[in-house]
Amino acid sequence: MSSRSGPQSGQTALLFLPGDSLLHRANPLTSLIFMLWMISAAAVLPTIGTTILIVAGVALSFAMGVGPRVTKRLVITMLPLLVALLVVHGFLVSRPDFIPLVGPLTYSPTGLEYAAQVVTRIGAMLTASLIFVTTTHPGDILKSLDQRGVSPGVSYLIASPLLLIEPFSERAKAIRDAQRARGLDLTSTFKARFKALPALLIPLITLALSDLDHRASILNSRAFRAQKHRTVIDAPPDDRFQVWLRRVLIVLAIAQLGIPLLWR
Protein backbone atom coordinates (compact mmCIF):
# COMPACT_ATOMS: atom_id res chain seq x y z
CA MET A 1 0.00 0.00 0.00
CA SER A 2 1.11 3.53 -0.66
CA SER A 3 1.85 5.74 2.29
CA ARG A 4 -0.86 8.25 1.38
CA SER A 5 -4.27 8.07 -0.20
CA GLY A 6 -3.76 8.51 -3.92
CA PRO A 7 -5.76 8.50 -7.11
CA GLN A 8 -6.61 4.82 -6.85
CA SER A 9 -7.40 4.79 -3.16
CA GLY A 10 -11.15 4.55 -3.44
CA GLN A 11 -13.37 6.75 -5.52
CA THR A 12 -15.16 8.43 -2.62
CA ALA A 13 -12.92 11.45 -2.41
CA LEU A 14 -15.48 14.11 -3.36
CA LEU A 15 -13.53 17.12 -4.72
CA PHE A 16 -10.06 15.79 -3.97
CA LEU A 17 -7.59 15.93 -6.88
CA PRO A 18 -4.47 13.78 -6.59
CA GLY A 19 -1.19 15.66 -6.87
CA ASP A 20 2.26 16.21 -5.47
CA SER A 21 2.11 19.89 -4.49
CA LEU A 22 3.19 21.37 -1.18
CA LEU A 23 -0.35 21.19 0.20
CA HIS A 24 -0.84 17.63 -1.10
CA ARG A 25 2.31 16.59 0.76
CA ALA A 26 1.50 18.59 3.89
CA ASN A 27 0.08 16.87 6.94
CA PRO A 28 -3.75 17.12 6.72
CA LEU A 29 -3.85 18.90 10.08
CA THR A 30 -1.54 21.60 8.70
CA SER A 31 -3.86 22.06 5.72
CA LEU A 32 -6.85 22.10 8.06
CA ILE A 33 -5.32 24.75 10.33
CA PHE A 34 -4.28 26.78 7.27
CA MET A 35 -7.89 26.69 6.08
CA LEU A 36 -9.14 27.76 9.52
CA TRP A 37 -6.62 30.63 9.56
CA MET A 38 -7.88 31.83 6.15
CA ILE A 39 -11.49 31.59 7.35
CA SER A 40 -10.71 33.55 10.50
CA ALA A 41 -8.98 36.21 8.39
CA ALA A 42 -12.00 36.38 6.08
CA ALA A 43 -14.25 36.90 9.10
CA VAL A 44 -12.50 40.10 10.19
CA LEU A 45 -10.91 41.68 7.11
CA PRO A 46 -12.60 44.58 5.27
CA THR A 47 -13.91 44.07 1.72
CA ILE A 48 -10.59 44.93 0.08
CA GLY A 49 -8.80 42.47 2.36
CA THR A 50 -11.22 39.61 1.64
CA THR A 51 -10.99 40.37 -2.10
CA ILE A 52 -7.20 40.11 -1.92
CA LEU A 53 -7.63 36.88 0.06
CA ILE A 54 -9.82 35.40 -2.70
CA VAL A 55 -7.34 36.40 -5.42
CA ALA A 56 -4.42 35.03 -3.38
CA GLY A 57 -6.37 31.84 -2.67
CA VAL A 58 -7.19 31.27 -6.33
CA ALA A 59 -3.53 31.95 -7.27
CA LEU A 60 -2.45 29.46 -4.61
CA SER A 61 -4.90 26.86 -5.94
CA PHE A 62 -3.35 27.18 -9.42
CA ALA A 63 0.12 26.83 -7.91
CA MET A 64 -1.07 23.63 -6.18
CA GLY A 65 -2.50 22.21 -9.42
CA VAL A 66 -6.15 22.43 -8.36
CA GLY A 67 -6.92 25.89 -9.82
CA PRO A 68 -9.52 24.95 -12.46
CA ARG A 69 -11.58 22.87 -10.03
CA VAL A 70 -11.43 25.50 -7.27
CA THR A 71 -12.30 28.34 -9.65
CA LYS A 72 -15.17 26.46 -11.26
CA ARG A 73 -16.75 25.56 -7.91
CA LEU A 74 -16.18 29.07 -6.60
CA VAL A 75 -17.86 30.69 -9.58
CA ILE A 76 -20.77 28.21 -9.67
CA THR A 77 -21.48 28.77 -5.98
CA MET A 78 -20.79 32.48 -5.68
CA LEU A 79 -22.32 33.87 -8.87
CA PRO A 80 -26.00 33.34 -7.92
CA LEU A 81 -25.25 34.55 -4.41
CA LEU A 82 -23.51 37.67 -5.75
CA VAL A 83 -26.44 38.55 -8.00
CA ALA A 84 -29.03 37.89 -5.28
CA LEU A 85 -27.22 39.91 -2.61
CA LEU A 86 -26.50 42.85 -4.94
CA VAL A 87 -30.15 43.01 -6.03
CA VAL A 88 -31.59 42.61 -2.53
CA HIS A 89 -29.21 44.96 -0.66
CA GLY A 90 -28.48 47.37 -3.50
CA PHE A 91 -31.96 47.81 -4.95
CA LEU A 92 -34.68 46.30 -2.77
CA VAL A 93 -33.91 46.75 0.93
CA SER A 94 -35.02 50.24 1.95
CA ARG A 95 -32.06 52.47 2.96
CA PRO A 96 -31.76 56.23 3.54
CA ASP A 97 -29.12 56.74 0.80
CA PHE A 98 -31.13 55.61 -2.24
CA ILE A 99 -29.89 57.32 -5.46
CA PRO A 100 -31.84 57.32 -8.77
CA LEU A 101 -30.24 55.12 -11.42
CA VAL A 102 -32.44 54.78 -14.51
CA GLY A 103 -36.10 55.81 -14.62
CA PRO A 104 -37.85 54.59 -11.44
CA LEU A 105 -34.84 52.41 -10.53
CA THR A 106 -32.86 53.52 -7.47
CA TYR A 107 -29.88 51.99 -5.73
CA SER A 108 -28.14 52.31 -2.38
CA PRO A 109 -24.30 52.63 -2.34
CA THR A 110 -24.17 51.43 1.28
CA GLY A 111 -26.39 48.47 0.35
CA LEU A 112 -24.05 47.55 -2.51
CA GLU A 113 -21.08 47.98 -0.20
CA TYR A 114 -22.68 45.69 2.35
CA ALA A 115 -23.49 43.08 -0.33
CA ALA A 116 -19.89 43.20 -1.59
CA GLN A 117 -18.59 42.76 1.96
CA VAL A 118 -20.79 39.69 2.57
CA VAL A 119 -20.06 38.14 -0.83
CA THR A 120 -16.28 38.56 -0.61
CA ARG A 121 -16.28 37.27 2.96
CA ILE A 122 -18.20 34.13 2.01
CA GLY A 123 -16.09 33.84 -1.17
CA ALA A 124 -12.83 33.93 0.82
CA MET A 125 -14.12 31.31 3.26
CA LEU A 126 -15.27 29.11 0.37
CA THR A 127 -11.90 29.51 -1.40
CA ALA A 128 -10.12 28.35 1.76
CA SER A 129 -12.45 25.34 2.09
CA LEU A 130 -12.09 24.42 -1.59
CA ILE A 131 -8.30 24.55 -1.43
CA PHE A 132 -8.44 22.24 1.57
CA VAL A 133 -10.84 19.65 0.12
CA THR A 134 -9.15 19.56 -3.29
CA THR A 135 -5.68 18.98 -1.86
CA THR A 136 -6.49 16.73 1.12
CA HIS A 137 -7.98 13.25 0.79
CA PRO A 138 -10.73 12.65 3.40
CA GLY A 139 -9.08 9.36 4.36
CA ASP A 140 -5.88 11.18 5.28
CA ILE A 141 -7.78 13.61 7.51
CA LEU A 142 -9.22 10.68 9.45
CA LYS A 143 -5.83 9.01 9.79
CA SER A 144 -4.42 12.27 11.01
CA LEU A 145 -7.17 12.62 13.61
CA ASP A 146 -6.67 9.01 14.73
CA GLN A 147 -2.94 9.67 14.96
CA ARG A 148 -3.62 12.59 17.32
CA GLY A 149 -5.73 10.34 19.55
CA VAL A 150 -9.04 11.96 18.59
CA SER A 151 -11.97 9.74 19.61
CA PRO A 152 -12.86 7.17 16.90
CA GLY A 153 -16.45 8.40 17.21
CA VAL A 154 -15.45 11.85 15.93
CA SER A 155 -13.61 10.32 12.98
CA TYR A 156 -16.68 8.23 12.18
CA LEU A 157 -18.91 11.30 12.24
CA ILE A 158 -16.67 12.91 9.61
CA ALA A 159 -16.17 9.83 7.44
CA SER A 160 -19.58 8.23 7.30
CA PRO A 161 -21.48 11.07 5.57
CA LEU A 162 -18.78 11.20 2.87
CA LEU A 163 -18.79 7.44 2.42
CA LEU A 164 -22.51 6.88 2.53
CA ILE A 165 -23.44 9.46 -0.12
CA GLU A 166 -22.82 6.94 -2.91
CA PRO A 167 -24.94 4.02 -1.56
CA PHE A 168 -27.63 6.46 -0.43
CA SER A 169 -28.01 7.99 -3.89
CA GLU A 170 -27.93 4.52 -5.50
CA ARG A 171 -30.77 3.47 -3.22
CA ALA A 172 -32.72 6.63 -4.03
CA LYS A 173 -32.42 5.80 -7.75
CA ALA A 174 -33.54 2.21 -7.13
CA ILE A 175 -36.61 3.41 -5.18
CA ARG A 176 -37.45 5.92 -7.91
CA ASP A 177 -37.22 3.20 -10.58
CA ALA A 178 -39.28 0.76 -8.49
CA GLN A 179 -42.01 3.33 -7.85
CA ARG A 180 -42.10 4.35 -11.52
CA ALA A 181 -42.47 0.68 -12.46
CA ARG A 182 -45.51 0.62 -10.15
CA GLY A 183 -47.02 3.56 -12.03
CA LEU A 184 -45.85 6.55 -9.99
CA ASP A 185 -45.94 9.65 -12.18
CA LEU A 186 -42.62 11.51 -11.99
CA THR A 187 -42.59 13.15 -15.41
CA SER A 188 -45.73 15.27 -15.74
CA THR A 189 -46.81 18.41 -13.81
CA PHE A 190 -45.05 19.92 -10.83
CA LYS A 191 -48.13 19.09 -8.71
CA ALA A 192 -47.96 15.41 -9.70
CA ARG A 193 -44.25 15.29 -8.90
CA PHE A 194 -44.84 16.97 -5.54
CA LYS A 195 -47.57 14.44 -4.73
CA ALA A 196 -45.16 11.63 -5.57
CA LEU A 197 -42.55 12.85 -3.07
CA PRO A 198 -43.80 10.85 -0.04
CA ALA A 199 -43.72 7.64 -2.08
CA LEU A 200 -40.02 8.28 -2.71
CA LEU A 201 -39.00 9.72 0.64
CA ILE A 202 -40.77 7.36 3.04
CA PRO A 203 -39.03 4.16 1.83
CA LEU A 204 -35.72 6.01 1.60
CA ILE A 205 -35.95 7.21 5.20
CA THR A 206 -37.26 3.88 6.49
CA LEU A 207 -34.43 1.97 4.84
CA ALA A 208 -31.86 4.49 6.07
CA LEU A 209 -33.11 4.00 9.62
CA SER A 210 -32.98 0.24 9.21
CA ASP A 211 -29.41 0.57 7.92
CA LEU A 212 -28.46 2.44 11.09
CA ASP A 213 -29.25 -0.66 13.12
CA HIS A 214 -27.18 -2.90 10.84
CA ARG A 215 -24.30 -0.41 10.79
CA ALA A 216 -24.29 -0.20 14.60
CA SER A 217 -24.22 -3.97 14.78
CA ILE A 218 -21.30 -4.22 12.35
CA LEU A 219 -19.33 -1.52 14.17
CA ASN A 220 -19.98 -3.35 17.40
CA SER A 221 -18.73 -6.64 16.01
CA ARG A 222 -15.60 -4.94 14.60
CA ALA A 223 -14.72 -3.72 18.13
CA PHE A 224 -15.37 -0.08 17.26
CA ARG A 225 -14.57 2.09 20.30
CA ALA A 226 -13.66 -1.04 22.26
CA GLN A 227 -10.23 0.53 22.92
CA LYS A 228 -9.48 4.16 23.66
CA HIS A 229 -7.21 4.54 20.63
CA ARG A 230 -6.98 2.84 17.25
CA THR A 231 -3.91 1.67 15.36
CA VAL A 232 -3.19 3.99 12.42
CA ILE A 233 -1.80 2.44 9.28
CA ASP A 234 -0.23 4.61 6.56
CA ALA A 235 -0.20 7.60 8.89
CA PRO A 236 0.42 10.92 7.08
CA PRO A 237 3.97 12.19 7.69
CA ASP A 238 4.53 15.12 10.02
CA ASP A 239 7.58 17.12 11.14
CA ARG A 240 8.60 19.78 13.66
CA PHE A 241 8.33 22.59 11.12
CA GLN A 242 4.69 21.75 10.44
CA VAL A 243 3.95 21.40 14.16
CA TRP A 244 5.32 24.93 14.75
CA LEU A 245 3.61 26.29 11.67
CA ARG A 246 0.28 25.01 12.97
CA ARG A 247 0.90 26.60 16.36
CA VAL A 248 1.70 29.95 14.73
CA LEU A 249 -1.39 29.77 12.52
CA ILE A 250 -3.62 28.94 15.51
CA VAL A 251 -2.21 31.91 17.49
CA LEU A 252 -2.69 34.15 14.45
CA ALA A 253 -6.27 32.97 13.93
CA ILE A 254 -7.15 33.57 17.59
CA ALA A 255 -5.46 36.99 17.51
CA GLN A 256 -7.27 37.94 14.28
CA LEU A 257 -10.62 37.09 15.80
CA GLY A 258 -9.88 38.26 19.34
CA ILE A 259 -8.19 41.64 18.79
CA PRO A 260 -11.12 43.25 16.93
CA LEU A 261 -13.46 42.04 19.66
CA LEU A 262 -11.25 43.50 22.41
CA TRP A 263 -10.75 46.71 20.42
CA ARG A 264 -14.49 47.29 20.37
Partner: protein, 282 residues
Protein backbone atom coordinates in the same frame (compact mmCIF):
# COMPACT_ATOMS: atom_id res chain seq x y z
CA UNK B 1 -16.70 -28.03 27.58
CA UNK B 2 -18.52 -26.98 24.42
CA UNK B 3 -17.15 -23.87 22.72
CA UNK B 4 -20.59 -22.31 22.20
CA UNK B 5 -23.58 -23.60 24.11
CA UNK B 6 -27.21 -22.62 23.68
CA UNK B 7 -29.35 -23.70 26.60
CA UNK B 8 -33.14 -23.78 26.43
CA UNK B 9 -33.28 -20.48 24.54
CA UNK B 10 -36.78 -19.06 24.29
CA UNK B 11 -36.97 -15.75 22.46
CA UNK B 12 -39.66 -13.68 20.81
CA UNK B 13 -39.48 -10.16 19.35
CA UNK B 14 -41.38 -7.44 21.23
CA UNK B 15 -45.10 -7.45 20.37
CA UNK B 16 -44.77 -10.77 18.51
CA UNK B 17 -47.16 -13.55 19.49
CA UNK B 18 -45.12 -16.57 18.43
CA UNK B 19 -41.58 -17.18 19.62
CA UNK B 20 -38.78 -17.24 17.04
CA UNK B 21 -36.69 -19.61 19.14
CA UNK B 22 -38.73 -22.06 21.16
CA UNK B 23 -36.59 -23.59 23.92
CA UNK B 24 -33.67 -24.28 21.58
CA UNK B 25 -30.63 -26.15 22.89
CA UNK B 26 -27.49 -26.95 20.93
CA UNK B 27 -23.71 -27.03 21.40
CA UNK B 28 -20.77 -26.46 19.06
CA UNK B 29 -17.20 -27.72 19.50
CA UNK B 30 -13.98 -26.05 18.43
CA UNK B 31 -13.06 -26.63 14.79
CA UNK B 32 -16.51 -27.89 13.77
CA UNK B 33 -17.95 -27.03 10.35
CA UNK B 34 -21.70 -26.87 10.85
CA UNK B 35 -24.53 -26.10 8.43
CA UNK B 36 -27.84 -25.05 9.95
CA UNK B 37 -30.48 -25.45 7.28
CA UNK B 38 -33.80 -23.70 7.54
CA UNK B 39 -36.54 -22.42 5.26
CA UNK B 40 -37.27 -18.69 5.13
CA UNK B 41 -38.60 -17.09 8.32
CA UNK B 42 -37.55 -20.06 10.43
CA UNK B 43 -35.35 -17.91 12.69
CA UNK B 44 -31.96 -18.36 11.01
CA UNK B 45 -30.77 -14.78 11.37
CA UNK B 46 -32.13 -14.49 14.90
CA UNK B 47 -30.30 -17.65 16.01
CA UNK B 48 -27.15 -16.48 14.19
CA UNK B 49 -27.24 -13.18 16.08
CA UNK B 50 -27.67 -14.99 19.39
CA UNK B 51 -24.72 -17.26 18.60
CA UNK B 52 -22.63 -14.21 17.65
CA UNK B 53 -23.38 -12.47 20.94
CA UNK B 54 -25.25 -9.61 19.24
CA UNK B 55 -28.25 -10.54 21.41
CA UNK B 56 -29.29 -9.83 24.11
CA UNK B 57 -29.39 -6.21 23.02
CA UNK B 58 -31.53 -3.53 24.66
CA UNK B 59 -35.11 -4.78 24.72
CA UNK B 60 -34.25 -7.90 22.73
CA UNK B 61 -33.77 -10.38 25.56
CA UNK B 62 -34.56 -14.06 26.01
CA UNK B 63 -37.58 -15.00 28.07
CA UNK B 64 -35.69 -18.12 29.08
CA UNK B 65 -32.25 -19.64 28.60
CA UNK B 66 -28.97 -18.14 27.41
CA UNK B 67 -25.99 -18.56 25.07
CA UNK B 68 -22.47 -18.92 26.40
CA UNK B 69 -18.97 -19.26 24.96
CA UNK B 70 -16.31 -21.08 26.97
CA UNK B 71 -18.95 -21.40 29.68
CA UNK B 72 -19.35 -17.61 30.02
CA UNK B 73 -22.69 -16.05 28.96
CA UNK B 74 -22.39 -13.32 26.29
CA UNK B 75 -23.39 -10.40 28.54
CA UNK B 76 -20.26 -11.07 30.60
CA UNK B 77 -17.97 -10.54 27.59
CA UNK B 78 -16.47 -7.13 26.80
CA UNK B 79 -16.94 -5.76 23.26
CA UNK B 80 -13.24 -6.31 22.40
CA UNK B 81 -13.20 -9.86 23.80
CA UNK B 82 -16.34 -10.79 21.89
CA UNK B 83 -15.13 -9.23 18.63
CA UNK B 84 -11.90 -11.22 18.86
CA UNK B 85 -13.79 -14.43 19.67
CA UNK B 86 -16.68 -14.52 17.22
CA UNK B 87 -17.57 -12.86 13.94
CA UNK B 88 -20.92 -12.74 12.20
CA UNK B 89 -21.44 -11.99 8.51
CA UNK B 90 -25.02 -11.21 7.55
CA UNK B 91 -26.75 -11.93 4.25
CA UNK B 92 -27.07 -8.41 2.74
CA UNK B 93 -23.52 -7.54 1.64
CA UNK B 94 -23.85 -3.75 1.57
CA UNK B 95 -25.12 -3.82 5.15
CA UNK B 96 -21.95 -5.61 6.27
CA UNK B 97 -19.72 -2.63 5.48
CA UNK B 98 -18.64 -0.37 8.31
CA UNK B 99 -19.10 2.88 6.36
CA UNK B 100 -15.80 4.04 7.79
CA UNK B 101 -13.27 2.97 5.15
CA UNK B 102 -12.36 4.48 1.81
CA UNK B 103 -10.74 1.33 0.42
CA UNK B 104 -11.17 -2.44 0.62
CA UNK B 105 -7.80 -2.57 2.40
CA UNK B 106 -8.98 -0.10 5.05
CA UNK B 107 -12.30 -1.93 5.47
CA UNK B 108 -10.46 -5.16 6.31
CA UNK B 109 -7.99 -3.33 8.55
CA UNK B 110 -10.77 -1.49 10.41
CA UNK B 111 -11.43 -4.23 13.00
CA UNK B 112 -7.79 -5.10 13.79
CA UNK B 113 -7.03 -1.36 14.07
CA UNK B 114 -9.88 -1.04 16.59
CA UNK B 115 -8.21 -3.76 18.66
CA UNK B 116 -5.13 -1.46 18.77
CA UNK B 117 -2.89 -4.24 17.41
CA UNK B 118 0.64 -3.35 16.26
CA UNK B 119 0.72 -2.01 12.67
CA UNK B 120 2.78 -4.99 11.45
CA UNK B 121 0.20 -7.44 12.74
CA UNK B 122 -2.67 -5.47 11.23
CA UNK B 123 -0.94 -5.57 7.84
CA UNK B 124 -0.22 -9.30 8.12
CA UNK B 125 -3.86 -10.05 8.97
CA UNK B 126 -5.15 -7.89 6.11
CA UNK B 127 -2.80 -9.51 3.58
CA UNK B 128 -3.89 -12.97 4.73
CA UNK B 129 -7.60 -12.09 4.53
CA UNK B 130 -7.13 -10.52 1.08
CA UNK B 131 -5.48 -13.71 -0.13
CA UNK B 132 -8.06 -16.08 1.38
CA UNK B 133 -10.99 -14.15 -0.10
CA UNK B 134 -9.29 -13.45 -3.43
CA UNK B 135 -9.51 -9.67 -3.04
CA UNK B 136 -5.91 -8.56 -3.63
CA UNK B 137 -6.74 -7.00 -6.99
CA UNK B 138 -9.52 -4.95 -5.38
CA UNK B 139 -7.52 -3.70 -2.37
CA UNK B 140 -7.62 -0.04 -3.45
CA UNK B 141 -11.27 0.04 -4.56
CA UNK B 142 -14.05 1.86 -2.74
CA UNK B 143 -16.04 -0.88 -0.89
CA UNK B 144 -19.37 0.65 -1.90
CA UNK B 145 -18.53 0.39 -5.61
CA UNK B 146 -18.01 -3.39 -5.50
CA UNK B 147 -20.57 -5.87 -6.80
CA UNK B 148 -22.76 -7.83 -4.34
CA UNK B 149 -20.56 -10.92 -4.58
CA UNK B 150 -17.37 -8.90 -4.10
CA UNK B 151 -18.89 -7.12 -1.09
CA UNK B 152 -19.84 -10.52 0.32
CA UNK B 153 -16.21 -11.68 0.02
CA UNK B 154 -15.05 -8.41 1.53
CA UNK B 155 -17.30 -8.72 4.57
CA UNK B 156 -16.00 -12.25 5.14
CA UNK B 157 -12.41 -11.04 4.74
CA UNK B 158 -13.06 -8.28 7.28
CA UNK B 159 -14.45 -10.87 9.68
CA UNK B 160 -11.48 -13.21 9.13
CA UNK B 161 -9.01 -10.39 9.81
CA UNK B 162 -10.32 -10.33 13.38
CA UNK B 163 -8.97 -13.91 13.64
CA UNK B 164 -12.04 -15.12 15.50
CA UNK B 165 -12.42 -18.60 16.97
CA UNK B 166 -15.94 -18.81 15.56
CA UNK B 167 -17.15 -17.56 12.20
CA UNK B 168 -20.91 -17.36 11.68
CA UNK B 169 -22.14 -16.91 8.12
CA UNK B 170 -25.74 -16.15 7.24
CA UNK B 171 -26.47 -17.44 3.71
CA UNK B 172 -22.92 -16.67 2.53
CA UNK B 173 -23.37 -17.95 -1.01
CA UNK B 174 -26.68 -16.22 -1.78
CA UNK B 175 -25.01 -13.41 -3.79
CA UNK B 176 -22.43 -15.54 -5.59
CA UNK B 177 -22.61 -17.00 -9.08
CA UNK B 178 -21.94 -20.79 -9.32
CA UNK B 179 -18.24 -20.35 -10.18
CA UNK B 180 -17.62 -17.82 -7.39
CA UNK B 181 -19.61 -20.03 -5.02
CA UNK B 182 -17.38 -23.05 -5.71
CA UNK B 183 -14.24 -20.89 -5.31
CA UNK B 184 -15.61 -19.51 -2.08
CA UNK B 185 -16.38 -22.97 -0.69
CA UNK B 186 -12.85 -24.09 -1.55
CA UNK B 187 -11.47 -20.99 0.20
CA UNK B 188 -13.55 -21.65 3.32
CA UNK B 189 -12.36 -25.24 3.31
CA UNK B 190 -8.79 -23.95 3.46
CA UNK B 191 -9.39 -21.92 6.63
CA UNK B 192 -7.47 -22.97 9.77
CA UNK B 193 -8.74 -26.27 11.15
CA UNK B 194 -9.24 -24.81 14.64
CA UNK B 195 -11.75 -22.24 13.40
CA UNK B 196 -15.37 -23.15 14.06
CA UNK B 197 -17.56 -22.25 11.09
CA UNK B 198 -21.34 -22.16 11.45
CA UNK B 199 -23.21 -21.57 8.21
CA UNK B 200 -26.90 -20.76 7.99
CA UNK B 201 -28.24 -21.81 4.59
CA UNK B 202 -31.35 -22.49 2.56
CA UNK B 203 -29.36 -23.95 -0.33
CA UNK B 204 -28.39 -27.60 0.00
CA UNK B 205 -25.54 -27.92 -2.50
CA UNK B 206 -23.21 -25.25 -1.09
CA UNK B 207 -23.89 -26.52 2.43
CA UNK B 208 -22.55 -29.94 1.46
CA UNK B 209 -19.26 -28.37 0.49
CA UNK B 210 -19.08 -26.25 3.62
CA UNK B 211 -20.01 -28.52 6.52
CA UNK B 212 -19.63 -31.97 8.01
CA UNK B 213 -22.36 -31.59 10.65
CA UNK B 214 -25.89 -30.65 9.62
CA UNK B 215 -28.93 -29.40 11.49
CA UNK B 216 -32.44 -28.52 10.47
CA UNK B 217 -33.97 -25.49 12.18
CA UNK B 218 -37.73 -25.44 11.99
CA UNK B 219 -40.31 -23.53 14.03
CA UNK B 220 -37.70 -22.32 16.48
CA UNK B 221 -36.18 -25.70 17.28
CA UNK B 222 -33.43 -27.97 15.98
CA UNK B 223 -35.50 -30.75 14.47
CA UNK B 224 -32.64 -33.02 13.45
CA UNK B 225 -28.88 -32.87 14.07
CA UNK B 226 -26.40 -35.26 12.46
CA UNK B 227 -24.57 -36.21 9.29
CA UNK B 228 -25.57 -34.71 5.92
CA UNK B 229 -27.15 -38.05 4.95
CA UNK B 230 -29.34 -38.08 8.08
CA UNK B 231 -30.47 -34.47 7.87
CA UNK B 232 -30.96 -34.15 4.13
CA UNK B 233 -32.99 -37.35 3.99
CA UNK B 234 -35.24 -36.20 6.86
CA UNK B 235 -38.85 -35.85 5.62
CA UNK B 236 -39.22 -32.34 7.05
CA UNK B 237 -35.99 -31.24 5.31
CA UNK B 238 -37.21 -32.63 1.99
CA UNK B 239 -40.60 -30.98 2.52
CA UNK B 240 -39.19 -27.51 3.26
CA UNK B 241 -35.92 -27.36 1.33
CA UNK B 242 -36.23 -30.06 -1.32
CA UNK B 243 -33.35 -32.27 -2.41
CA UNK B 244 -30.12 -31.92 -4.33
CA UNK B 245 -30.45 -32.73 -8.03
CA UNK B 246 -28.52 -35.99 -7.60
CA UNK B 247 -30.63 -37.06 -4.62
CA UNK B 248 -33.81 -36.15 -6.52
CA UNK B 249 -32.78 -38.43 -9.43
CA UNK B 250 -32.07 -41.32 -7.07
CA UNK B 251 -35.32 -40.64 -5.23
CA UNK B 252 -37.30 -40.91 -8.48
CA UNK B 253 -35.56 -44.21 -9.27
CA UNK B 254 -36.46 -45.47 -5.79
CA UNK B 255 -40.05 -44.36 -6.27
CA UNK B 256 -40.07 -46.39 -9.49
CA UNK B 257 -39.03 -49.42 -7.41
CA UNK B 258 -35.60 -49.77 -9.04
CA UNK B 259 -33.36 -48.63 -6.18
CA UNK B 260 -31.64 -51.34 -4.07
CA UNK B 261 -33.14 -51.91 -0.64
CA UNK B 262 -31.08 -50.29 2.12
CA UNK B 263 -28.87 -48.23 -0.24
CA UNK B 264 -28.79 -44.59 0.92
CA UNK B 265 -29.69 -41.86 -1.55
CA UNK B 266 -26.52 -40.12 -2.82
CA UNK B 267 -26.24 -36.40 -2.01
CA UNK B 268 -23.35 -35.36 -4.22
CA UNK B 269 -22.07 -36.24 -7.66
CA UNK B 270 -18.92 -37.69 -6.12
CA UNK B 271 -20.92 -40.35 -4.25
CA UNK B 272 -23.58 -40.78 -6.94
CA UNK B 273 -21.52 -42.71 -9.46
CA UNK B 274 -21.02 -45.72 -7.16
CA UNK B 275 -24.65 -45.61 -5.99
CA UNK B 276 -26.01 -45.51 -9.52
CA UNK B 277 -23.74 -48.41 -10.53
CA UNK B 278 -25.12 -50.45 -7.64
CA UNK B 279 -28.67 -49.45 -8.60
CA UNK B 280 -28.02 -50.53 -12.20
CA UNK B 281 -26.68 -53.90 -11.06
CA UNK B 282 -29.72 -54.54 -8.84
Amino acid sequence: MALIKVEDLFFRYPQAKAPVLDGLSVAFEQGERVAILAPNAAGKTTLARWLAGLYPDGGLVAERGHVSMDGKPWPQWSAAERAAAVQFVGQVPSQQLTGCAFTVYEEIAFGPCNLALPEGEVRARVEQALAVCNLKHLAKRDPFTLSGGEQQRLSIAAALAMQPRVLILDEPTSNLDPESRDDFIAQLDALPAGLTVIVFEVALRPSLGLARRFMLLDEGRIVVDGTPETVLAHPRCIETLGMTAVARAAFEIREAGRWPEGLALPLTLAVAEQSFREAARA
